[in-house]
């Protein structure tokens, strides 16, 4: 009698997640490069300065926040979400034990873990910026909110970032699945994103989204999570419909 293997769903899922995380290590490296680029750009360009003057003083303020790192990371998140649905990436899983459903769930778990990683690193990256700022001599540094004087903000931001990044990956994943269905979607997406970036309205929408995500009180953090879930479920349904043609 043949000896048949019976692998439990949880066991296989765990193995798939481990495998996919390893497969996406290089993407994590890209993320790190982007975050470092964000920090450097930020420090070099001295983003977000403003000035005010009175009769006696002309004051210039340089404000550093996690925003550039967050924006870069969220673009990355979109890219990774989309990448996961690419045909050759999907084929990655085929040599190993899986099912479509399991693979999609593993994708979501991996994206979730990546989102947690991204959220925390974005938040921590601002402390690297702090140290670099501090090391420059002859500066007037005004202490901003940090994890000691404003732990609430710190924790809340990590949570919002994670949720926001997750949402970005979900959008990417969903769009990725759409483009797998029909390449026409690519043109649509490109057109929309160009419009978003070029028009003041688009930028406003982008910023308002971030602000909304930020301003949502903690219990309401669920909203983007629900949105992400819906997108993931839709994408999974699409994936099951997909013909991966040889």
């Amino acid at each position: 009698m043949m000896f048949l293997t019976t692998k439990s769903f949880a066991e296989t899922l765990q193995a798939q997640v481990k495998f996919k995380l390893h497969a996406y290590l290089s993407m994590v490296v890209y993320l790190i490069i982007l975050q470092v680029a964000g920090m450097l750009l930020f420090l070099l360009l001295g983003s977000a300065n403003m000035s005010s003057s009175s009769d006696l003083v002309e004051m210039e303020f340089y404000v550093f926040t996690p925003k550039p790192m967050l924006i870069l990371s969220s673009l990355w998140a979109f890219y990774v979400g989309k990448l996961m649905t690419r045909h050759d990436q999907r084929a990655d899983i085929m040599p190993f034990v899986t099912t479509r459903t399991l693979s999609s769930i593993a994708d979501v778990v991996v994206l979730g873990l990546l989102a947690i990683f991204t959220g925390i690193t974005v938040m921590l990256s601002i402390y690297v910026v702090r140290i670099i700022v501090m090391l420059k001599p002859n500066q007037n540094i005004i202490s901003g909110e940090n994890m000691v004087n404003a732990p609430g903000i710190f924790i809340e931001n990590i949570m919002t970032f994670i949720v926001f990044i997750l949402l970005m990956t979900a959008i990417g994943y969903f769009f990725g699945m759409l483009t797998q269905q029909s390449k026409l979607w690519i043109f649509f997406i490109v057109a929309v994103s160009v419009l978003m970036l070029c028009s003041a309205f688009g930028q406003q929408v982008l910023l308002v989204t971030i602000k909304l995500a930020k301003s949502v009180p903690l219990p309401l953090l669920g909203t983007p999570v629900i949105a992400s879930s819906i997108l993931f479920v839709l994408a999974t349904l699409l994936a099951n419909k997909l013909e991966v043609r040889g």
Binding site: M2, L4, T5, H22, S26, M94, V244
Partner: protein
């Protein structure tokens, strides 16, 4: 004997085009079956359906009594090796081998390592850097080492040189003898692996043309050669699978040998000789649209 694979009225359409139709067969026990057919007759599609990667349009398919599509049990007990297998770019062969036991309980790491060494594949090289033949060799090793109850190879020898092909077949046979399992090998080219096979599943234009053991296949047809008029006389009433005009008004005919009880002595006396038909040739004849093959095109 347990039925491992069963297909009934399987049909697969891509848009309007039928890739497979009316596929009904079953594979029992631990056999090596050759899935033979010309290019584009749906071998790959059939294997993808069996492996649960694609869903059939209609009909039923069961592997180990389960429908393969989206089924974890089938996935854990079967593997399909083809040249589209891809592994993450940052994975060395060794990394791939290291991950395999997480997924395949029966994984034989030692076998994989030894075969890698024998075929001079460095565990430190990257899968995407391998040449086509080397990639297929690696994929083959991977498939063999999983020891899956249902192991399917889709054109495994593509791009391999002859020496490697021979070794690969030998490795397959030896591992099969040690760990019998259900193996399907697809190929458009039967000759080289004929000796390995127990059964043949011949596909033609998305349909099963024939599903027989190799020995039965030999009795499926007979070849007669002799003066054209005499051969023609004898061949009347039989289904002619192949016909070839030879020099000197000689004719070579392959007949479907159902209930064929020729008197050999008499045939010999009339100057007709029996020419045995090799399994590979027979498969070609069975899947040719024209009885005379390419020559027919020019004769018209």
């Amino acid at each position: 004997m347990m039925t491992v694979i069963q297909c009934e009225n399987l049909e697969k359409k891509f848009r309007k085009k039928k890739a497979l139709q009316n596929i009904t067969f079953q594979i029992e026990g631990e056999k090596i079956t050759g899935l033979i057919g010309r290019n584009g007759t749906g071998k790959t599609t059939l294997l993808r359906i069996l492996a649960g990667m694609t869903k059939q349009t209609s009909g039923t398919v069961t592997i180990l009594d389960k429908t393969p599509f989206n089924n974890l049990f089938v996935s854990a007990n079967s593997i399909l090796i083809n040249d589209q297998m891809q592994f993450p770019g940052s994975f060395k062969l060794q990394d791939i081998l290291n991950f395999a036991p997480d997924f395949y309980e029966k994984w034989d790491a030692e076998l994989a390592t030894r075969l890698l060494q024998y075929f001079r594949l460095s565990p430190q090289s990257y899968h995407s850097d391998l040449s086509k033949g080397m990639k297929n060799t690696f994929n083959f090793i991977f498939g063999l080492a999983t020891r899956c109850t249902v192991t399917m190879f889709d054109e495994p020898i593509n791009g391999m040189d002859e020496a490697v092909r021979k070794d690969v077949y030998r490795a397959l046979l030896k591992d099969y003898l040690a760990y019998p399992r259900t193996i399907i090998i697809s190929s458009h080219f039967l000759d080289e692996m004929e000796h390995l096979l127990e059964d043949i599943l011949l596909l033609d234009e998305g349909k099963v043309a024939l599903h027989k053991s190799l020995d039965e296949l030999r009795e499926h047809a007979i070849g007669l050669q002799g003066p054209a008029d005499v051969v023609k006389k004898w061949a009347t009433g039989f289904e002619i699978l192949h016909e070839k005009q030879l020099a000197g008004n000689q004719l070579y005919t392959v007949l479907k040998a159902q209930d064929c009880t020729f008197n050999e002595k008499q045939l010999l006396q009339e100057g007709i000789s029996f020419i045995p038909v090799s399994a590979g040739d027979l498969c070609l004849y069975l899947t040719n649209t024209r009885v005379g093959g390419i020559d027919d095109v020019f004769n018209d």
